[in-house]
């Protein structure tokens, strides 16, 4: 679940903070995060993931109020509660597919669970690729592996950043289905950040946070680019 009240974030050196609309997402629900690049989409995501501290407002994610914890606590909370599917996937080329998934255990400080890794890979249909290296995978396979990594620790919230970019229509539909299945399988809330119209259409009627509506002119001046 996600609940925000008057959430705002001030970029260092910016005169006015960026204010986000309030959001209420129930546990297990799906939120579509829309916005062209530069509208604060990544900022909102990094606030939700506890990577940045908000400058104002209240933020509850996965039953926890963020902003009061120290660094290590936030890291531990993120390991437990957030699954993340980045646009560029970020599978480590030094490791096999199975070891890439095991990184989630390493990062969380948990013992490696080989059976759970196999299950997670099987759930997205790529369990036979466990011993491969990421560069031996097709784009679709790699995304499935990254998805398996994201849901390995059964997070309460799954964040997906542009999951359909650079996919054709059919693959995009498949990816979206798999994403929703995976989130449902561990009863996770799902946030999909996208500016892809196909996703918007496929998830018509889903709860939406549209950042295009909040002062795009002021946000497009390049401050968003880090």
């Amino acid at each position: 679940m996600i609940r925000t009240r008057g959430l705002s974030y001030a970029y260092p050196g910016a005169d006015a903070p960026l204010r986000f609309p309030d959001v209420d997402l129930r546990q297990g629900g799906t939120l579509l995060l829309r916005g062209r690049s530069g509208t604060g989409k990544s900022t909102w995501l990094s606030l939700i993931a506890g990577l940045r501290g908000a400058s104002g407002g209240d933020l509850f994610v996965a039953g926890t109020q963020l902003g009061t914890q120290r660094g290590a606590e936030i890291d531990a909370w993120r390991a437990r509660s957030i699954g993340f599917l980045p646009q560029k996937l970020y599978l480590s080329s030094a490791l096999t597919v199975a070891d890439n998934l095991a990184l989630a255990y390493f990062a969380a400080g948990l013992p490696r669970d080989g059976a759970a890794i196999t299950r997670a890979l099987a759930q997205v249909g790529v369990d036979e690729l466990a011993a491969r290296r990421p560069h031996q995978l097709s784009g679709g396979q790699a995304q499935r592996v990254a998805l398996a990594r994201a849901v390995l620790l059964s997070p309460e919230l799954l964040l997906a950043d542009e999951p359909t970019a650079s996919l054709d229509d059919e693959a995009a539909a498949d990816a979206l289905d798999l994403l929703r299945q995976s989130a449902a399988a561990c009863d996770a809330s799902l946030v999909i950040a996208t500016h892809d119209q196909r996703v918007v259409q496929a998830l018509a009627g889903a709860q939406t946070l549209d950042l295009n509506e909040i002062g795009p002119k002021r946000l497009l001046d390049g401050r968003e680019k880090l």
Binding site: S46, A72, D75, P86, Y90, A94, L103, A107, A108
Partner: protein, 412 residues
């Protein structure tokens, strides 16, 4: 906590070998630096010890006029040719001097298979507290006692496994071998010394009379000649022990001024020699230091690039919940792996080189150096390696520590 370290170690091991070429190159440079330093440590320590052992208890070396360093090298360490001979009568006069506790005469001139035959008195053996491994000391002229290395060398040279005591050999004139063979006067081996780690290991000892006998026999044509030659008897070097430290003040000066002989204080000459050798050791040590500095730089560059390349990997680890410390630890561990491997390889290589050097030196009958000795100071080599690696990893690790996770999200 412990299992975290093990996991870090294992993961960093994988990351290290994900770039095998860089890993091997860095390992190589680091290993060479450590090997050079190990080699210097081994050789310098062993040479110091050998010098110290050979010099112990010898206060003054008296011989013919010439270079004092040469006199010491020839008379004490037996690694140079002597400056000449001195009259036996003068040595006997020296013995009567009240400042002198003991005089050990040495007569050089002949060799066997490159090993020097030294005519001396049993005091020489007693001075180094050498023990017999086989047989007895010489009892009559033409008896010879072999040093341990000599015995090994001769046995290797084809003597087979037969006991050496009782065997005979013929010395040849000159110290290098290949000179005129004294065929009329064969030596009989009366005993073999146990290894003493001193200069005696490399010598063939006999009585001074044997040396005179061989040479007088070769020069004289009849008994009258022999009687005449007896008055002109010479020795090469006299090793002197003082009765009182005060002797150091007057005795060397008196010998140098009033006699035809030269007196050299080993302590002074060896200090000079070590300073000469020390330059070589310093050069080698500096070379090792430069190699280590290059290694540190190379490891630094490799890790820096690795962190840049793996920025996303590291950021992803942070996204997955790893603390910044753990991500930095990953980089540090990678360097420590290199240090650990390079320490093992560097020590082995250093010892191997020292052994090879020792072998080459021994083949020339020079100083004993072994690669089989392990010094406590070598414990510093892994520490040095870890220090260098940690230093090289410092900036990359800090870079990794500060990995900006939000960058993962900021893709347009």
């Amino acid at each position: 906590m412990n299992s975290v370290a093990i996991k870090l170690a294992r993961l960093s091991w994988r990351y290290l070998w994900s770039r095998p070429l860089a890993a091997v190159l860095n390992l190589l440079v680091l290993t060479l630096g450590l090997a050079a330093i190990t080699l210097v440590l081994l050789v310098a320590t062993q040479l110091d010890k050998a010098f110290e052992r050979d010099l112990a208890g010898i206060d003054l070396v008296v011989g013919a006029k010439g270079s004092p360093l040469q006199l010491i090298l020839a008379g004490v360490f037996h690694i140079d040719v002597p400056t000449g001979n001195i009259a036996l009568q003068e040595v006997q006069a020296l013995q009567k001097n009240p400042l002198v506790a003991q005089v050990i005469p040495l007569s050089l001139g002949d060799s066997y298979q490159g090993f020097r035959i030294v005519g001396t008195t049993p005091d020489y053996v007693a001075h180094y507290e050498a023990a017999l491994a086989e047989g007895a000391l010489w009892r009559q002229p033409m008896d010879a006692v072999l040093g341990a290395s000599v015995a090994r060398g001769i046995a290797r040279a084809g003597h087979g496994g037969a006991p050496l005591a009782g065997a005979t050999f013929v010395g040849s004139h000159g110290l290098g071998g290949g000179g005129h063979a004294h065929g009329d006067h064969p030596y009989r081996v009366s005993g073999v010394l146990a290894p003493c780690g001193c200069v005696l290991d490399r010598l063939i000892l006999t009585s001074t009379e044997s040396v005179w006998m061989v040479h007088e026999g070769a020069m004289a044509t009849d008994d009258e000649d022999l009687e005449l030659l007896k008055d002109d008897r010479e020795v090469t070097v006299a090793l002197v022990r003082y009765r009182t430290p005060l002797a150091a003040v007057t005795l060397p000066r008196r010998i140098n001024a009033d006699t035809g002989m030269q007196a050299a204080a080993p302590a002074i000459e060896v200090t000079r020699l070590l300073r000469l050798l020390g330059v070589g050791a310093d050069v080698l040590r500096a070379f090792g230091g430069v190699l280590l500095a290059v290694a540190a730089l190379s490891v630094f560059i490799a890790l820096w690039n690795a962190v840049r390349e793996r920025r996303a990997d590291l950021a992803m680890l942070r996204m997955l919940g790893a603390s910044p410390g753990r991500v930095a630890g990953l980089v540090l561990w990678e360097a420590l792996w290199l240090a650990a491997m390079a320490s093992v390889l560097g020590l082995l290589l250093g010892h191997g080189l020292a052994h090879g050097l020792g072998w080459a030196l021994q083949a020339q009958g020079l100083l004993p150096v072994s690669g089989l000795v392990w010094l406590p100071a070598e414990a510093g080599v892994p520490l040095l390696a870890a220090g260098v690696a940690a230093l090289a990893a410092l900036l990359p690790a800090m870079q990794a520590y500060r990995t900006e996770v939000a960058e993962l999200l900021s893709q347009p």
